[in-house]
Symmetry: C2
Subunit: 213 residues, 2 copies
């Protein structure tokens, strides 16, 4: 358990899991690292390395048993238990994330929103997530068993908000705010950058559609 | 230019570019595929393969010249020109994306929002992006030179909205709506799934913090 595992690797594990879910739903029983490599445009050696880090569950000549690997990846990713999530910032982005239907699959539950504006505190998102005052974060986090905080506040106040999250003993932070944030070593911070997705489209426009400019 | 390049590869090119921007800002002049491999937890062979697809700009024994590779990646990703983007859906997510500061870097410009609600049409986002009626998409897209559409509508109407986008001759779609969408072969569709980011945090909680459950 001591080896460092990078964000890139865990992202790949998530993508493998998505593909395995699809294979399983389609009734596919085994899959080779070669097929996984082709699907993700990686090489088979890297995929075998990614997966062998967490135990040897490939069968020589057969590949991986889809149901077993899927179950194992869910365990590795910690998805075999429910995780309670708080969203800090009840603006447009925070409210959109609170009602995002994808989170509820895979065991994530948005249990609270937080804001500083008195006009918002006590109200609820469309899907019924209650908005609390940020001053109550520590108390609500303990009561609701919140382990992940999502930062959806303007860049200018993001560091202050993250400090409050850290003080509330929350050890995992998903940041949607632009710019970099500082957290102690025992807190895992992940930042989402929408621009990467746009760049992928830009690439295809530049390459595939010479007439578009 | 005939070879197919996957979404995974273009995502990696984006990440390489981000790292090169950072190296360049720090005054670093050359970088090896080994250093890139360590940064992204990939292997050096895969990185050399990714980059050699677009021409041979590595120098044996030296690696890559940071400024050159950065400039070349910007060209490959089509970031050496401005791209005009429309957001369909002026709800919480659409308004949040319209005001997202990251997009404006790297040459993306949000030029219009679209919605079906008369109460919203004619108004503006906080940053001044005007909301048009979806019926005017084709006309506004042509006038403003819109080449990318961002889908930020509920899942139930997403396919209908994408059809309208396709009819307006927009060839690149960034989808934030859950569920799968169908587009013609000449349209590039990319879907954003926030759940992948949460799963990465879940992994670190499961692994690093055995006391948290």
């Amino acid at each position: 358990m001591a080896e460092q595992v990078s964000e890139q690797t865990t992202n790949r594990l998530s993508l493998y899991l998505r593909f395995l879910n699809k294979l399983d739903a389609d009734g596919v029983r085994t899959v080779s690292s070669k097929v996984l490599a082709a699907e993700f445009d990686l090489n088979a050696a890297l995929i075998r390395k990614d997966l062998s880090r967490f135990g040897d569950f490939g069968v020589r000549g057969v590949g991986y048993v889809v149901k077993d690997l899927k179950q194992r990846l869910r365990q590795i990713l910690g998805l075999d238990r429910r995780l309670n999530v708080a969203i800090i910032g009840a603006g447009n982005l925070g409210l959109a994330l609170a009602d995002y239907p994808g989170f509820r699959q895979d065991g994530f539950r948005i249990v609270a929103l937080f804001d500083t504006l008195d006009a918002k505190v006590g109200r609820e998102s469309r899907s019924g997530v209650r908005i609390h005052h940020i001053e109550d974060l520590k108390r609500v986090a303990r009561r609701e068993g919140i382990t992940i905080a999502v930062i959806a506040v303007p860049a200018g106040v993001a560091q202050t908000v993250v400090n409050t999250v850290v003080e509330a003993s929350i050890k995992a932070v998903l940041n949607f705010s632009p710019g970099s944030l500082r957290v102690p070593r025992d807190v895992k911070l992940k930042s989402v950058d929408f621009t990467v997705s746009l760049e992928s489209l830009s690439f295809h426009l530049a390459r595939g559609e010479p007439g578009v400019s």
